[in-house]
Symmetry: C2
Subunit: 178 residues, 2 copies
DNA sequence: TATTGTTATACTCTATAACTATA
DNA sequence: TATAGTTATAGAGTATAACAATA
């Protein structure tokens, strides 16, 4: 039985700018997602020796239902085009994608998923969603909807602060050590 | 304004084993934590050129209030002792920790945080908790407590399934593409 | 023999910068 | 000049395996 991550009694004195509940919610969610992603990786490992980005790129290509430019995949994965090149190299070497020239603009390369690649997606997606159900299915619909709404509200706030310079909070009030 | 990640209308037919809300809650929380960690990394970058593991190791040493064995840090960070060696190398090169021989067992090495290391912790912790407050402070206490309890319940379930062999879910019912 | 830590090595992921070839 | 992609290079992070020193 897992136990919540909690801050100590001295926390409000040490960090007056943050409520214990905000710090605890952040810590518990980071732990949860870390554990969840580890379980996902464990279940995926039996399917193919691909990185999370590799599986995700295949799922993107499968969902697009048409070949995509390398830069389109880079955008969705939030990585540089240079990083995509080596990722595509790996996927192509395993036979999961092919490169084809763009018909009208010869600078561009179209990435197309192969049948073997689609088979990987067909096997991976049920595993991913089975894990989601196994884990998050312990909550009821109302709780899940509250998670979704809460997560969205926090992400909105994060998007707002991400464009500002990082704030310089007040100093830590280091507890005296006896 | 961020928008919730939602699955499509065809989801229940395609993945009968998973409810849309479970899949959506998982996706939204992964996105949230990813965004949150990115914001944390952005704010930490102004303090010292250290990795997340580096900051965490310093915080562990600071919190322990006494020198720790290398293996103790490895345990808490969930990495091998070989990985800790190079992490400690980095921290020692920057003057944030020192290695000292264990007084009675000469196989062991005690890692001690320096004043410079403590200064880093003193500057990093307020930034971390300020970010937690900025982001999670948009929810009220009741919502935050629900997050903490829900995250703990899910982590318990994850701990339970982690020891079992990964399940092999039913096949995906691929939607017909026109 | 078992334990602690280090070294050697390798692999993945990602980034920046310079480059090619188009447009 | 600008764009799409590749190559070259580098660095972080982590792992496994072999090893040395010590218990």
């Amino acid at each position: 039985m897992a136990v919540p991550v909690r801050v100590g009694a001295g926390f409000p004195a040490e960090f007056p700018g943050c409520t214990p509940l905000a710090a605890e919610a952040a810590a518990n969610l980071v732990r949860l997602v870390s554990d969840y992603l580890a379980e996902l990786a464990r279940r995926r490992r039996n399917i193919a020796p691909l990185s999370a980005s590799g599986f995700e790129a295949l799922a993107i290509l499968d969902g697009a239902a048409e070949p995509l430019m390398a830069s389109a995949i880079a955008e969705r994965l939030l990585v540089t085009t240079a990083s995509i090149t080596s990722l595509i190299d790996t996927l192509a070497a395993r036979g999961y994608v092919t490169r084809a020239p763009h018909p009208s603009d010869r600078r561009k390369v179209l990435i197309e998923i192969t049948d073997a690649g689609r088979e990987i997606v067909d096997r991976v997606l049920p595993v991913v969603y089975r894990a989601a159900q196994d884990a998050f299915g312990v909550l009821d619909d109302e709780q899940l909807e509250a998670f979704i709404q809460g997560a969205t509200a926090i992400r909105s706030e994060l998007a707002a602060v991400a464009s500002k310079p990082p704030p310089t909070p007040g100093p830590r009030v280091r507890p005296r050590t006896p």
